[in-house]
Amino acid sequence: MTNLVTISGGLRRPSSTRLLADRLEAAVRAELESGGVAVESAVLELRPLGHDIMDAMLAGFPSEPLEEAFARLGEADAVIAVTPAFNASFSGLFKSFFDVLPEETLSDMPVLIAATGGTERHSLVLEHALRPMFSHLHAIVSPRGVYAATEDFGTASAGSALGDRVTAAAFDFARLVTSCGQRVRRDTDDEELAGMRALLGS
């Protein structure tokens, strides 16, 4: 059983970010299932957590819904993370979620990165914003991310069509997730306690 969590940082409804997230989720699930892996999948929308994320940043502790989101993410074996591109980077809401996420939640986590934007000129946001952040969080970032410009939702040219890119990225990611296997969850509280016990010699 592989526990897949898809994070969507889209703001509007309907949201092209959510649309891309859903396509990636379906493609990854199909790849894993065709390899005989059972998949449990959930989507985590950040918009409903917007106030909770900012409150956590200001007050220093998470609300219950946010803590539940953290727990779901911590229990995942694989994560798909999709953000709109704002001002040549991820959206502030998307970044803020990871800024309040407890440390090590994503360590050793296979992550597929994806982004949406108005034009394809922002496609390198995957490489200069998303990939470094997830590397910093000690995630295992899948080599092939997916960027979708508005135009992509209306183009059908073979070879570089969005559908093909989604399929190719999902194929890579499914291989990565399968070879990583079930993720060993880290509990920083337990690690901290073990550190204290070692210092006390008990």
Binding site: A59, F61, S63, E64, L193, M196, L200, G201
Partner: protein, 380 residues
């Protein structure tokens, strides 16, 4: 009924010592004024029958209490009965030798009315200002506290560690009053490692209980109680627990909410964040009538068990002295007497009373019954 000299549970106030602009008037007290207000609050706390006054320790503006034992020594001279404590004393950046000396003197001056709450401190730059590194906070805590325990318990100390110069043939002067070290609490906002440390030594554990939800406090206290028993200091329910809390009261609860809201909205640490209503639901903050404060506080026992010390934060965020003194009147007249009575109901006989100097002296006398622990583990 006159307050007994050793109540089963201690009630008191703890101050952060922040100099904050009153958002309703725009006036900011000077440092001299904030310090004299703090002294007035401590005296009033004794006058209305509270058991404990505790001060924080900070080394940067806008806070004034950088030298807690100076403040507490002064208050000791102006009071007779109230226990003087800290919330917290920084075990990481203070030299343990100086902590031992300062609190030894305070014990003598106050006639045994001093104890202390140790904490690590979470203000990054304070560490380098005192020649330390916040990344070493945990090993610093363990090493410094190990030395502090020995200084209070051994006549002549030979010691060598990582973070401070070695000691050869060092004797603490003055010795602790009656050769009984001040009781030590370990305080934590978030970290379970502090609960482990407190349990290891059979010391008290104080959960800040202001900045995190009650569910978090429950986990910390449960861990501390289990580990206290594991280390052989007694049963889990005999572990010594203290809790913080934050209240604002008026006889009419809506008046309390209306009056406190601007202070809450602009408060340091959590101001401009969650609403007063959300924060009250998430954390133990109670803004309302004295009866509401009584009810909420009695509920703490449901997740912390029968405990020994309850401290309230009442004087921060720019609240004027007059208002704070009114809060103390309400605590003394309408809240604490009811809490004393209600908390006593159903409290098992083997739950120890709040630790005081008299109690510890009695326990340290050979043949005086259940001791606080022989401290044979102090050598490490």
């Amino acid at each position: 009924m006159a307050p007994s000299p050793a109540p089963a549970m201690q009630f008191g106030v703890f101050t952060v010592g922040d100099v904050t602009t009153d958002p309703t008037t725009g006036t900011t007290p000077g440092e001299a004024r904030r310090i004299s207000d703090t002294v007035a609050i401590a005296r009033k706390a004794e006058e209305v029958g509270l058991d404990v006054f505790a001060t924080g320790e900070h080394h940067n503006p806008p806070f004034v209490p950088s030298s807690p034992t100076t403040l507490l020594g002064h208050i000791a001279a102006l009071t007779e009965r109230i226990v003087l404590s800290t919330a917290t004393t920084l075990i990481t950046t203070n030299d343990p030798v100086k902590i031992a000396e300062d609190f030894s003197v305070l014990q003598h001056l106050s006639g045994g009315r001093a104890d202390l709450m140790l904490g690590r401190g979470n203000t990054g730059p304070v560490y380098p200002w005192f020649g330390q590194d916040i990344r070493q906070a945990m090993p610093l805590t363990v090493e410094n506290y190990g030395l502090l325990r020995r200084l209070w318990r051994e006549e002549v100390v030979d010691w060598e560690g990582t973070f401070r110069s070695p000691l050869q043939g060092f004797t603490l002067a003055p010795r602790p009053l009656d050769d009984v070290p001040p009781f030590v609490w370990h305080a934590s906002i978030r970290t379970p490692a502090v609960a482990e440390l407190a349990a290891h030594f059979g010391d008290g554990f104080f959960a800040n209980h202001i900045f995190w939800p009650a569910s978090h406090t429950r986990r910390l206290v449960e861990l501390y109680r289990q580990r206290f028993e594991h280390y052989g200091h007694g049963s889990a329910r005999q572990a010594v627990v203290g809790l913080g809390g934050q209240v604002f009261m008026r006889r009419n609860s809506q008046d309390a909410v209306n009056e406190f809201r601007p202070y809450f909205d602009n408060a340091p640490v959590y101001g401009h964040g969650p609403s007063l209503e959300d924060f009250s639901a998430l954390t133990p903050l109670t803004v309302g009538s004295p009866a509401q404060v009584v009810e909420r506080t009695l509920g703490f026992r449901e997740y912390a068990g029968d405990y020994q010390r309850q401290l309230f934060l009442i004087d921060h965020a720019g609240l004027p002295l007059k208002t704070v003194l009114e809060q103390l009147d309400l605590l003394g007249e309408e809240v604490v007497p009811v809490l004393r009575e209600e908390f006593a109901v159903g409290r098992p006989a083997d739950v120890p009373p709040a630790p005081t100097h008299a109690l510890l002296r009695e326990r340290s006398t050979p043949g005086a019954g259940a001791a606080a622990g022989p401290d044979s583990d102090a050598k490490d």
